[in-house]
């Protein structure tokens, strides 16, 4: 189909035009990391019997004795070859560390996003249908509460209630408890890999494990989604075409879903893209509280240890995902709204 080819071409152009931004991010993080106080060589050589020579040696090994521009060129050369460097903490190449941990973060983010959308859209629609009623105010209160309470507080509260008090939830550490066998890794997403392996017990265990952290994150992002759904629904319920739909005698359900919501979903889509990117970067607190082995907690550890390579790799990864998510949102928008094309 030519329309599809057209979209693909536009998407390709968008990717190419985002390369300068990615390059800027690379250089900026590189410089920032060097400007920040803290010397990795000192950090790693630290020990009562490490001398100044030891530190100098480590510094030479790491290439930190060269001038900054030279370091940058070497770094960019490595990136060009797909080498993100090696983490000093884990001793592993950053690329394989990220590849190991990214699915955990993505799985958590997607689960949280699905939960958030699944709750926010119906709540927003109800709030719009009964604008300024008790339901509307209740939804607003609930959403405000979600944003006001920091995730580490709501996460701990959930753990306290569901794990400690009632004992419904499993031990809140990691993606899977130690007694359940891991599935063979296909996608890295446990919920999918268990399904592929046909291990339903494992799936249920992984599901129970992800539920609390996902709810914690979902609570945090529900407010913008629900508020946007409400506003967009109010606008489209008051529009001329909804009046037309009523004037031809369509059922309420069709009027609300096919005419009003179908149009109201467009701005919600845009917000969803922004929310997704924010969640991926900002879920470090949730990962810490639930000992979730994701990229954000990995990057935080590296940052505290002045471990340059993982932090730079993480920022580059986030920037790329941000570009990709925006592109996906634009393509979806183009499909959802026949009036726009991906520019």
């Amino acid at each position: 189909m030519s329309g599809l080819g057209h979209t693909a071409k536009r998407a390709g152009q968008r990717l190419v035009t985002s390369l300068p931004a990615l390059f800027g991010v690379l250089v900026f993080t590189f410089v920032l990391m060097r400007v920040l106080p803290g010397d990795p060589a000192v950090f790693f050589a630290s020990g009562p019997n490490s001398s100044q020579e030891d530190i100098e040696m480590i510094r030479r090994q790491m290439g930190l004795d060269k001038p900054l521009p030279t370091q940058l060129v070497l770094y960019l050369y490595d990136i060009g070859r797909g080498n993100l460097g090696r983490s000093l903490i884990t001793g592993q190449p950053v690329l394989s560390d990220l590849r190991e941990r990214l699915p955990a973060s993505l799985e958590l983010t997607f689960a949280a996003l699905i939960l958030a959308l699944g709750a926010a859209i119906p709540l927003g629609v109800f709030a719009a249908l009964r604008a300024n009623s008790l339901i509307d105010h209740a939804v607003r209160f609930f959403c405000s509460l979600g944003v006001c309470v920091p995730t580490f507080v709501s996460g701990l509260l959930l753990i306290y209630a569901f794990y400690y008090l009632w004992g419904i939830a499993p031990d809140p550490t990691g993606r899977i408890d130690i007694f359940t066998s891991q599935p063979t890794r296909v996608t890295g997403f446990l919920l999918i890999d268990y399904l592929i392996a046909g291990d339903l017990d494992g799936w249920a265990a992984a599901f129970r494990q992800i539920l609390l952290p996902a709810i914690t994150m979902a609570l945090f992002v529900m407010a913008p989604l629900a508020r946007m759904t409400r506003a967009a629904m109010l606008a489209s319920l008051g529009s001329d075409f909804v009046r037309t739909a009523r004037s031809i005698g369509l059922s309420d359900w069709r009027v609300i879903v096919v005419y009003a919501l179908r149009n109201a979903i467009l701005p919600v889509l845009t917000i969803t893209g922004i929310v997704f990117s924010t969640m991926l970067g900002a879920n470090v607190l949730v990962e810490k509280v639930f000992s979730w082995p994701g990229v954000a907690s990995y990057a935080l550890d590296a940052l505290l240890a002045s471990d340059y390579a993982p932090v730079q790799g993480f920022v580059l990864l986030m920037a790329s995902i941000f570009v990709l998510v925006n592109l996906v949102v634009d393509v979806l928008y183009g499909m959802a709204d026949p009036r726009v094309t991906v520019e």
Binding site: S239, D240, F241, R243, T244, A245, R246, S247, I248, G249, L250, S251, R254, V258, Y259, R262, N263, L266, A336, D337, P338, R339
Partner: protein
């Protein structure tokens, strides 16, 4: 179940109240009307008269803030006021359907027109998607959309306004209702499109013996297509009569005012407001304009071109305007009339050609630089929508004072005196100068827009549809005001309008545009009485004229 001559619809003592921030507002106060089977009833009135609210009350599609507080609506033997929602849903589309103002907005922008017509069909009939599609194609054919097999998969934004209105009509007639309510169905459409759409409605409803309730502000339209007309004012029906009698012998004072204010082929500006007490401005006699002895005309446009990409919006237009002369620019949407007026005002840059003002070439001065030119104050513009063209954060005083501060360098008492002088000229009470646009009525905002334009003492005033957003009675007063200002200040007008009756009245000369080219120009009276080209003939024929007894 009813006698053959019993009315299909009878509205008795209808009252509708709206809950607003300022308390309860009664929009409809005891309306009585009836529509016989197969007949067309027009409801005319100005904004705020309650005509649209009456229509929405009949279909029970009022906003949630509106409520029928009293009265009965008899339709096919039942009272719609008491009917449960379920009954109303069964009636919508199947027995009563509507067509709307602004057809493009009335269609779901993300659904193809074929699916929307199918929605209308399947709301009341059990049919498969394929059957509905087949029937939708037939309906598109019935509303005279060419190549219906292709158009059925189009989205509303891919169709013109007139085509969208045909789609809305197709949806409205899909389930063969007995009553069609048309709410300003042609407002915003071109005059020729208006004629084809109204002719289509008239033909279809006649073929199917449907009754029509036509709501309009346009007396000419009502006269042409209705067998009976009711006139509404402030929620009351003030008069009901067949069109001929209504126009030849209006009984109620409001009807008389309305009839006088609606321009016809023969009306003069002086006659628009019959009531001397309301006609504040009394135009003095026109000062004799002397023919220019060899001097350059005030404005000369040579071979003006404006291209957007490949398409030429304006394609080689040349025209002249003498000092104190009033020239009309008419044509359908897309003819380039607004583009020309904006280029002459130096708000956008022409692609080619020259604009000479007083013999001085101004076309080459970039639009964004023109505000520094001393000629900026000589050319001013009055915009189409008085509501949208005023800064909502500026009081009326600030709006009028702004050009004086920027171009005239006035401040303090001199500024105040000049602003008050302008306000007096346009008949704006001085105590309104502190108000913000949302606190002013449409007519008052129009006056502020005109005062702002004349404040710096221009010699050429470009009027871009200055009264299109106004009610006819306010239009009448505004036109008189403009005419008086022109005569007093010896202003030249470039009057852009789609309303040929207004142009005929206001302009000495008229230029007809089509697709960015001039097709005809001449003295207004001669041009309208005996158009030389087919296009102009078509335009003139499309104006809904009422018989003048």
């Amino acid at each position: 179940m009813t006698a053959p001559d019993a009315p299909l619809l009878a509205v008795e003592d209808l009252h509708v109240t709206f809950t607003t921030r300022r308390g309860l507002v009664e929009a409809v106060r005891g309306v009585n009307l009836s529509v016989a089977p197969g007949r067309t009833l027009g409801i005319v009135g100005e904004s705020g008269s309650g005509k649209t609210v009456t229509a929405y009350a009949i279909t029970r599609l009022l906003d949630s803030s509106g409520r029928i507080t009293k009265g009965r609506i008899q339709f096919q033997g039942m009272d719609l006021v008491q009917a449960p929602t379920r009954t109303m849903r069964a009636l919508h589309g199947a027995a009563i359907s509507m067509i709307f103002q602004n057809p493009r907005a009335a269609l779901n922008p993300v659904r193809t027109v074929g699916l929307q017509i199918a929605d209308a069909l399947r709301a009341h009939r059990t049919m498969t998607a394929a059957q509905a599609r087949k029937r939708a194609i037939e309906l598109l054919d019935e509303v005279r959309i060419r190549e219906p097999e292709k158009r059925i998969d189009a989205y509303p934004h891919e169709l013109s306004g007139g085509m969208c209105q045909r789609v809305v009509i197709a949806m409205a007639i899909a389930c063969e209702p007995a009553l069609l309510i048309a709410d300003e169905p042609t407002t915003g459409l071109d005059v020729t499109t208006q004629k084809t759409v109204m002719d289509l409605v008239a033909r279809i409803t006649a073929e199917r013996n449907m009754s029509v309730l036509l709501i309009t502000h346009d007396l000419g339209l009502a006269a042409k297509y209705c067998q009976d007309i009711v006139v509404m004012e402030q929620g009351h029906v003030v008069e009901r009569a067949p069109p001929l009698r209504l126009f030849s012998d209006p009984q109620h004072a409001y009807t008389r005012r309305l009839v006088a204010a609606s321009p016809t082929a023969t009306s003069r500006v002086e006659d628009l407001v019959p009531d001397a007490s309301l006609a504040v401005p009394l135009p003095p006699l026109r000062p004799k304009t002397k023919p220019a002895p060899g001097t350059a005309p005030l404005l000369e446009v040579q071979n003006l071109v404006k291209r957007y990409g490949e398409t030429a919006a304006v394609d080689g237009v040349s025209l002249t305007i003498a000092a104190g002369e009033s020239v009309g620019l008419v044509g359908e949407s897309g003819s380039g009339k607004s583009t020309i007026s904006r280029m002459i005002c130096r708000l956008i840059d022409p692609t080619g050609g020259d604009i000479l003002f007083d013999g001085e070439a101004i076309g080459s001065i970039a639009a964004r630089e023109f505000h520094r030119s001393p000629l900026r104050r000589e050319i001013q513009i009055v915009f189409q929508d008085p509501h949208e063209s005023l800064n909502p954060r500026f009081s009326a005083f600030d709006s009028i004072a702004h050009p004086l501060r920027r171009l005239g360098g006035l401040a303090g008492d001199a500024l105040k005196a000049r602003v008050e002088d302008c306000a007096k000229k346009v008949g704006l009470p001085l105590d309104l100068l502190d108000r913000f646009p949302h606190q002013l009525s449409g007519g008052q905002k129009a006056r502020v827009g005109i005062a702002r334009a004349i404040s710096v003492g221009p010699r050429l005033l470009v009027l871009d549809e200055p009264t299109a957003a106004l009610d006819v009675s306010i239009q009448a007063v505004t036109l008189q005001l403009l005419e008086r200002l022109r005569r007093e200040e010896n202003l030249a007008f470039l009057f852009v309008s789609h309303d040929l009756n207004v142009v005929r009245m206001m302009c000495e000369r008229t230029i007809v545009l089509q697709n960015g080219r001039i097709v005809e120009e001449g003295q207004s009276r001669a041009l309208f009485d005996a158009p030389a080209t087919d296009y102009t003939r078509e335009l003139v024929a499309a104006i809904p004229m009422r018989e003048v007894a």
